[in-house]
Symmetry: D2
Subunit: 367 residues, 4 copies
């Protein structure tokens, strides 16, 4: 693991997700941007000292020197966005499988370079679009792929948070600080959460974005990155949609919701109550589906650990991403996980949206 040391929210989540199913464990790491904090974090995590590294460069050198049976099976990169490219490239180049936090990188050309390198080296590369790990998200995807909604008409994804309603960076919050610095994060809500919404839309519907148009705002005085956005989408085939994204909605916690309206039915899912899925059908009936219920398809079932009524949550969904990644590493051909292609598309999505915003919110072709 690179990054994710003391006090880092997402690093701890990754470790819980890794541990949950007992398929892997964190055995080596360079956890922070200073050697001291890196080693402190490694000690706290109980790592053996010979695999506790001061820097990711040290880790790279040491680990690539190990024999095949001792070598790390995969590297997890959970550092700030602007560092992803250099770190990921180095480990991929050395032949390591990598799971990298999203957004993949901060520039489209870097995304393409990295993607080409991954292809050249033949490694497995996952991007932690964790929300696509929820069983009922996978069930949505199956229902749509199965044609039960008919032609998709309209897609609405919302991702509303409130934690940046005030100027936390000015108040010294560490996470808010790097996320609010254009140089380090690349973008604000756009990179942080809109990319999740975009990936969910594409993952579940199978649609291809033809063009987009983005209204971006910085609502809180003093903020340098976007904290509120409306991004309209046109899909190949005629469907339309939009992403409403904000981090300044007081009272919203992690309000990611997805609604897909088709000719024959509608699916509604909300991340904060992830074990349910609403399915309305053209005959007027409305079903409340439940994770693990008898109607669940194989994709949802294989992402499910507990019987219906025993709630699974964020960590379990995250662990499903790892399950797919580990399965791919073991050579399973149809393993489901967000790939580097998703990562590249996400970076392009951010770039296109920023470009649209600079052109007064005009439509930009996506490819």
């Amino acid at each position: 693991m690179v990054g994710g040391g003391q006090g880092a929210f997402i690093g701890a989540v990754h470790r819980m997700a890794i541990r949950l199913d007992g398929q892997a464990e964190v055995v080596a790491g360079a956890f922070a941007s200073t050697p001291e904090r890196s080693l402190d974090s490694a000690r706290e995590l109980g790592l053996s000292s010979d695999r506790s590294y001061s820097t990711w460069q040290e880790m790279l050198v040491a680990e690539r020197g190990l024999g095949p049976s001792e070598r790390l099976d995969a590297i997890v990169i959970v550092t700030p966005n602007h560092t992803h490219f250099e770190i990921a490239s180095a480990f991929v180049d050395a032949g390591f499988n990598v799971l990298c936090d999203k957004p993949l990188v901060t520039r489209v050309e870097d995304a393409l370079t990295l993607s080409a390198l991954v292809a050249r080296r033949g490694v497995r590369f996952a991007v932690s679009y964790n929300y696509s790990g929820y069983p009922m998200v996978r069930e949505m995807r199956s229902i749509i792929a199965d044609g039960q909604l008919g032609t998709i008409r309209k897609v609405i994804a919302e991702y509303h948070q409130g934690w940046l309603s005030t100027d936390l960076a000015a108040a010294g919050d560490k996470q808010a600080s790097w996320r609010g610095d254009p140089a380090l994060a690349g973008a604000g809500a756009l990179g942080d959460i809109a990319t999740h919404a975009e990936q969910l839309v594409v993952f579940t519907t199978g649609l291809t974005i033809e063009s987009l148009a983005a209204d971006l705002r910085s609502v809180v005085p003093g903020r340098q990155v976007d904290d509120d956005a409306l991004i309209r989408l046109r899909f190949i085939g005629g469907a339309t949609g939009y992403l409403s994204v904000s981090q300044v909605c007081v009272g919203e916690e992690n309000g990611l919701t997805l609604r897909v309206f088709g000719e024959h039915g509608t699916l509604v899912w909300a991340q904060e109550h992830p074990n349910q899925l609403r399915h309305a059908r053209g005959d007027g009936s409305v079903m409340i589906r439940s994770r693990g219920d008898s109607a669940s398809g194989p994709a949802a079932r294989s992402a499910t650990r507990l019987p219906p009524g025993h709630p699974e949550g964020f960590i379990e969904a995250f662990a499903n991403i790892y399950q797919g990644f580990f399965a791919a590493i073991r050579g399973q051909p149809d393993a489901v996980f967000p790939s580097i292609a998703d990562g590249v598309r996400g970076v392009r999505f951010v770039e296109r949206a920023l470009t649209s915003a600079r052109h007064d919110g005009g439509w930009m072709s996506f490819e």
Copy 2:
């Protein structure tokens, strides 16, 4: 009453709303576009034959000839949109108070002409934006006017229906027919439901629309008017918002919701569960308010008939519009009801949105 004869949904609703509080009754009418159906409807409603009219013109002539004590206190116009202007103008010109269905008329110049006539004649004129009659909508307005949300940041109104998911007009549905004819309705979802959403936003927030941009679509093949729309709003003062409107969302019934996000709090209301109001505050607390609860302000209280927990619904809200209108007729100076100014603004809103759509969804100044 003009219009609203046999089989007309909204005419029957008006009559229930009128009767509910026992302040008025329907005593005269020309209920349909043919004399025969008009008289049949009047008979069914139990009207005395001397005030059952074949046409609205006949009714106008007869009723304006009556003395002040016998004259109708008000005329209710519930005919298809394209007829509103002629009928309303005639009755206003004759000095009658009028309550007219929305959208007020189909052309901005007619709206302005009618508005000027109303001012000249000094009559009371209401437009049936019935959703603003809900007590918790009025509570939202009070909370915002009271400054509890601070500066408004973002406003989201959705109005999603599914009843036009298929081509009902082709299948012979009468309502769908006139509403789907551009000549008779002026617009589709835009005039029918987006105007409600627009009025709710302005009514509750007190904001003024500076400009708008509209994406309109006709999703169902063969439909000649818009059935799906996204209308973005910029308000004077910097707030933004959007209206998502559709009549082709399978499984949606009458899904009108309103969310107002402010600097210090958020309010969420949904028409299908109108007796509740969610109020999140900047301190992290979330309150579920209930119609008639002890925290209700005077505006909500005076629009409430029953204690909390005894659900009120659509008809009661509609009747609140009549209560305000009747109060104004009786001379109450601060009576709350949607006025001709709301009606004019709604017509302009439709016109501006249609113009934006013709210009590839570009921004149009509102005034």
Copy 3:
């Protein structure tokens, strides 16, 4: 109308329910226990002075003297419980149709006497168990009668309110006062709300109570009647159930819910969101039914005024009771309304529950 004068909550509800559908109007009344308040109330309601009575006795004498075409079609009795018997008996004896508030009377022998009189006089007699007027309650009844749940296993009705959480009677609240006086009300929560729950259970399931056992409490110090109860039920055929009833549950408004569990399915309905009905089936599917949806049976449809998504509420349900009663008066043979048999059963239910409570909550046979 007898009773229901100034400030009486339920009298005003009756009048709105009567007016809603325009089938009847209140034209005569003795509205209060003193002549002065009676006449004041009549004046406020705009009644003609010759049918505004000082007392119900005066009204009885005057109205029974009128010819068949001028006579009142029905009498509505909304006085405190202990007066129902005398008033209802007198009007029934004079040949009037009567709709009386529940509980019908305060003593079983009076209930039987009145019932016999009703049969002898051949009048229509309704008891205002208004919750059975909700369309989705009628849909529950149809689904169960249709056998879709198979054998009923368990029935849970809750009726939890909080308005008597403190000693309102001591604080001078008029309603709380008579309802809290054993001599005037007969019982507390038992008569006031448990009877509603009992009627809903029997109405929807069609089951017959074989025996019951009641735990009654007076939770608030100083209260002389029960304010909290658990009443267990055994039905003929083996099903069981219970009613949990309370008026001291802080934060509960009018929390009447009904759950019926059968061999093949479960139905769940909640009065505070009356337009929905949850139907879980043995195959694991869960449907959310909506008032007026296309699956609605004729009983629900005929009790429905608006399309789905346009909420109906308490008054509309109340008006459905009147619709059934008026239909019966017009001679419709299959009119649905709560009859005197329901009223008698409710009085017996209260008596059996009080008896059980006096015997330490032991089981009492119901008939």
Copy 4:
């Protein structure tokens, strides 16, 4: 770990809960009732062969022979109920800390014997009442302990499942089989789920049960244990309550809910949406609390891994039980976990309920 081999639902849950926080791992086990399946399970779990045991007796002998640093820190017992006593006693007697599934044992005298042994040996002994690990359950407990509800008036716990709606044991389901055999399980729904409800009530309210009365039924033909129950409770101090418990409620998944009504407020929690807590207060306000929100007290916070809006579920709650148990093993004096006292009380609760049921549901003093 003893028990929990291939196909055992709860064993896998224990292992995920153990792994989640990385504080412990399963390193030895006797996982099934036959040596072959035990060793197969151990192999599947990747245990080293020298700590993969054929039987728990073999495991006991081998492990108690190890030195203090190599010895197991704790034994987890997840076998069928009737075997708990023998296994737990043996390991406790050998000085091991034990976490045992509930119900602790099947006879009160065994519970007392075991409890005395635990005291004598000075080991840590936890019972897996996992629902008390939910953060919002702990928040309920804090709010009540803090006096915010005032005097408790009424407590309602429901635990409704539907998975035994048909005769699964006859159909060959393994879990249903031992749980449906009176000799192996001791009781049906009573031991399996009512004990959870009882523990939640006592844990959150701090009340002491004075007496109880139980109606037990076997609804499904052929079933030998109870599958449906209503258990009434009287608490010392005057509060009352009941547990409604069933495994034959079609459509119910794991419907455990808890409502506590006090003089000054009401708390409502539902296991299927465990991240929320409803708190109504005497001033008429209703708050929706969210796991991890800023109002959370220390008990809830320390049981929380993620920010609000990132759902935690069943496994996380289960892991909180282990966290408390591990903390106690490490010597933390105020570690919170369900202790052997809870286990003993649960066994007594089952015994008292069975006794009451044999006496026609009469009241039984609890101690």
